[in-house]
């Protein structure tokens, strides 16, 4: 087959066909992967909720309520065991991470004690700030069982009670910032 000439109409047709076919293929792939992507996201959230909350038998996602603060949104997931409140998980954030936004799931008991924390999203330095993730190090274990009423959520360098990650003070500060934001707003909203 001879090479197509670079005339206006040929160029127009070629580009039109290429973009049309690409758009069609992408549309199909999008429709087919939409479900699994949603499922993967929901599974991640459910896994995080199970990890940070005491055993519950309601659906915290259904009872979820939001609060807009500091230019973003906090999500509250109340967990109930036979209709009595056993804890609230807060999906919180801090824009102060070394690599930008950090998102955490923090589980509180009704009295405000931290049950556990899971990192949902971060862009911290591998090998340094990344240690906030439990699979990388046990750093975040120090928050378990602490009540922010008596446990000051700031790194020791800033006069708080938190041991910072070595060489990652900024990441540690952002982590504290996110937990503090969750605690403050949860207490203000009152644990319904």
């Amino acid at each position: 087959m001879a090479k197509t000439e670079s005339t206006f109409i040929n160029m127009f047709l070629a580009l039109f066909m290429v973009t049309l076919l690409s758009a069609a293929i992408l549309g199909f792939v999008y429709v087919y992967t939409k479900g699994p992507i949603e499922q993967a996201r929901a599974a991640k959230q459910t896994a995080a909720l199970k990890k940070v909350l005491p055993p519950f038998n309601n659906d915290p996602v259904k009872e979820m309520y939001k609060k807009a603060v500091d230019g973003d949104t906090l999500y509250f997931f109340p967990a109930r065991m036979d209709s009595s409140l056993v804890g609230v998980a807060v999906k919180t954030f801090s824009p102060k991470g070394f690599g930008g936004m950090i998102r955490l799931m923090v589980g509180f008991l009704p009295d405000g004690t931290i049950k556990d924390i899971v990192v949902l999203q971060h862009q911290e330095t591998p090998g340094l700030g990344e240690k906030m993730v439990r699979s990388k190090s046990n750093w975040s274990v120090q928050f378990q069982g602490k009540n922010p009423k008596t446990f000051k959520l700031a790194v020791k360098k800033d006069g708080g009670d938190v041991d910072a990650i070595t060489a990652s003070t900024i990441s540690s500060r952002a982590f504290c910032d996110a937990v503090e934001r969750a605690y403050k707003n949860l207490m203000e909203g009152g644990a319904q």
Partner: protein, 195 residues
């Protein structure tokens, strides 16, 4: 050049990373561990293979003056396919590679092979070329990731064999340059001996 050569050259003689020094952005950025390097390499291999096949199929239909935009659209489509599929079925790997997956579009290896090879050769040669180049790239990323993970974190493919941290420098950006430089030096030595 026979067909075997089309496949083979991607590993040593014309290795994208060690010889052509192309695609440095993902090479340096994603190789913090062997697993990440492998994932990035295989994603790029898929895009290279598919875009080489399609580009060589349409090479006579696309007028010369609009070939580059057409190739980019083809490449970008396959990258998006990879991104969506990975997001759906390998969410943990997607979390690690995140930003670098869309950047495969601007990886010079992919457009380089489309323009330099697939637009002038048959579908079969182009497929072999894409596969060889991709696997050569994967090999390079896997080696670099391994070196950085072993030295920097004291583990390999997630298997920890020392307590605490390794030389953290190797996990950070400067370590990528250092490790890559030594790997290129070693590869040059091997290639020179073979030649």
């Amino acid at each position: 050049m026979n067909q075997w050569n089309n496949f083979n050259k991607g590993f040593f003689a014309e290795n994208a990373v060690f010889v052509q020094v192309l695609g440095m952005c993902p090479t340096l950025g994603t190789t913090t561990s062997a697993y990440n390097g492998l994932g990035m390499g295989l994603a790029t291999t898929f895009v290279l293979l598919m875009s080489n096949i399609v580009v060589s199929m349409v090479r006579n239909v696309i007028p010369d003056k609009v070939r580059i935009p057409s190739f980019i659209v083809i490449i970008a489509s396959f990258v998006t396919v990879v991104e969506l599929t990975m997001q759906a079925y390998l969410p943990s790997l997607y979390n690690e590679l995140g930003l670098f997956i869309p950047l495969i579009v601007v990886n010079c290896i992919v457009l380089g092979r489309a323009e330099a090879f697939a637009s002038k050769n048959t579908v079969w040669s182009s497929a072999l070329d894409g596969l060889g180049m991709g696997l050569g790239f994967t090999m390079a990323l896997f080696m670099l990731g391994s070196v950085r993970e072993i030295l920097g974190a004291g583990s390999w493919l997630g298997l920890k064999f020392i307590k605490g941290d390794g030389m953290l420098l190797f996990v950070l950006a400067p370590g990528a340059f250092l490790a890559l430089a030594y790997l290129i030096a070693i590869m040059n030595k091997i290639n020179r001996k073979n030649a």
